[in-house]
Subunit: 307 residues, 2 copies
DNA sequence: TGGGCCCATAAGCTGGAGTTATGAGCATGA
DNA sequence: TCATGCTCATAACTCCAGCTTATGGGCCCA
């Protein structure tokens, strides 16, 4: 994950979250003093913090004047990058908060790993802005675990990404997830001129999650007609480990598009086109058989329409 | 940007970047001590940091044993959220570093605001991992500014998103950018059952950037055949300001998909389908007329193939 | 049983980020 | 013209978070 050439930890080369937050506040308010008040600190503290941020980056971010402060051209760019960090931190916080309140929460959610990692934090941020009071607790596991929690009344609402709906549950499709064939940029497949054929994919040993995972279920089903999945090259227990292996050039894999955003954007991985096979699965909200859930569960459900 | 109900600043409710980095290192190495060494701190420091992170979140993240440390189930989730924060911080750092080295850098890049904000940091991370030594400097502005810098030999490679290629430059299409019609979830358009017609869009006052911006050029051209763009509701100078206005319900707007990731995912904004009009523009790399650039510029160019 | 690896705890140091207090620059309005 | 109110900067002081070193206990293996 650390690029080569890195020496000091990232945290020493980048302003901390508080400083980024402060920069956003300055952009919003057009004044150091008001930004400081917004964050509950004093004006000199804000002033010195912005100054030390500018020293660290070697760029002037804020143009001070007796009538307020505006961002410089560079400041605008830096502020936008900072905003993305702060948004990621907000997602972190929303997720972590849901993880904490184990017992006493009003809305208990159970979700598959992929959904809990990549989608739920965003939904929780949105939920909090629409229904500020709602306390959420979260547990993660595969489809069977989610079903069990719903049926034993340990969860009010679940999210799964498997092929079918577990018995005893009602469901609604809330989106779709495509599976991408990916390889390192150095892999021969990355230079192919023509799409991969299903039979080729099926015949090639891949880096995969263990058999229970949703991704693997879909892949098995899709390739059954084309000779069935070859014996895996390696079996790993987490999506992150799979990605790391693929990036390092160990071999190709098939992964959810949700897990691939950063890697594809930074071209650490490349997507290999495939033709003639549908690698797609439904994302579903699930609940105990019966009427649509009411109260907070309904609020959350209404935020999760197809994207 | 701050959700309602927030009181303390985000930075007090979330572990700092160093702690998140440490958590990732623990996940990688399977041991607090080795993670500590990796980050250049001592084992007790790492131990206490992880402990205080667990106290802050109210969740056990790491399972210690005399033979090493593994993440708990919750730890895996938290680590993945932390990874996204750290990746955003890496993008921040890559961008900021490019911004700093004004004069002496070997590769000088000029880019449009949108590309500089959303795409360049990712490319720079990838570039650094493939060609570690490359120093990059960055300046941002609209197409005319980019062209000027290239022609006056103040930049080696440029990126623009306008409609045409400025005179005197050669170019290559490196991707596409769709423009989305967006509105707040509370806006009437968000509940429409049928796609918007071009004439409706043209007739509606929108929240827009000022006339010079690339987005507005494309919009003008696309709607010329449908009666031309109505007088804007408000004109603002930054994309962020436009988004904030739309979120607050002031009216609809048309924005690049690149700028909308977070807002659409969190459903602070919703996309309004439109039929019969092509709101799409090319993203282009540009350079002084003549042969393809060589050296570091070529390295960067080769990272930016169509996504 | 000694030596390797793990982790935890304790005591002490230090720097960074906060505070209060103060002053200077620029508008506005009486 | 002078007071008022906003802006930001500087200086001196306080304090605590996070680091260090030193130490000890558990587990496994040769």
């Amino acid at each position: 994950m650390n690029g080569p050439g890195d020496t000091a930890p990232l945290a020493h080369r980048v302003p901390d979250l508080g400083a980024m937050e402060l920069l956003l506040a300055v952009a919003r308010h057009g004044s150091l003093g008001r930004a400081a008040r917004d964050l509950g600190i004093t004006q000199p503290a804000a002033s010195s913090r912005v100054r030390s941020m500018e020293r660290l980056l070697g760029v002037a971010l804020v143009e001070r004047s007796p009538r307020g402060s505006r961002l410089t051209a560079e400041g605008v760019l830096v502020t936008d990058w900072a905003r993305r960090v702060v948004e990621a931190a907000e997602a972190f916080e929303a997720g972590a908060q849901a993880l904490r309140g184990r017992r006493d929460s009003r809305l208990r959610v159970a979700a598959s790993m992929t959904i809990a990692e990549y989608l739920l934090p965003g939904w929780l941020i949105a939920l909090r802005s629409e229904r500020p009071g709602t306390a959420v607790s979260l547990s993660a596991g595969n489809s069977a675990v989610v079903a069990e929690r719903l049926l034993s009344d340990e969860a009010d609402l679940g999210f799964v990404e498997g092929l079918g709906v577990p018995a005893g549950l009602d469901s609604a499709v809330i989106g779709h997830d495509r599976l991408f064939v990916v390889a390192a940029p150095s892999h021969p497949w990355a230079r192919r001129r023509h799409p991969l054929l299903p039979a080729e994919l099926a015949a090639t040993p891949l880096i995969l999650r263990e058999p229970g995972s949703g991704t693997r279920q879909v892949l098995d089903a899709a390739l059954a007609a084309h000779g069935g999945l070859a014996e895996p090259l390696i079996e790993l227990s987490s999506t992150t480990a799979v990605k790391a292996s693929v990036v390092s050039g160990a071999g190709p894999s098939v992964l959810s598009e949700l897990a691939l955003g950063e890697e594809l954007a930074a071209r650490r991985l490349v997507q290999i086109p495939v033709e003639g096979v549908r690698l797609r699965r439904d994302l579903r909200a699930v609940w105990r058989q019966g009427p649509l859930p009411a109260g907070p569960a309904r609020d959350l459900l209404s935020l999760t329409r197809p994207t």
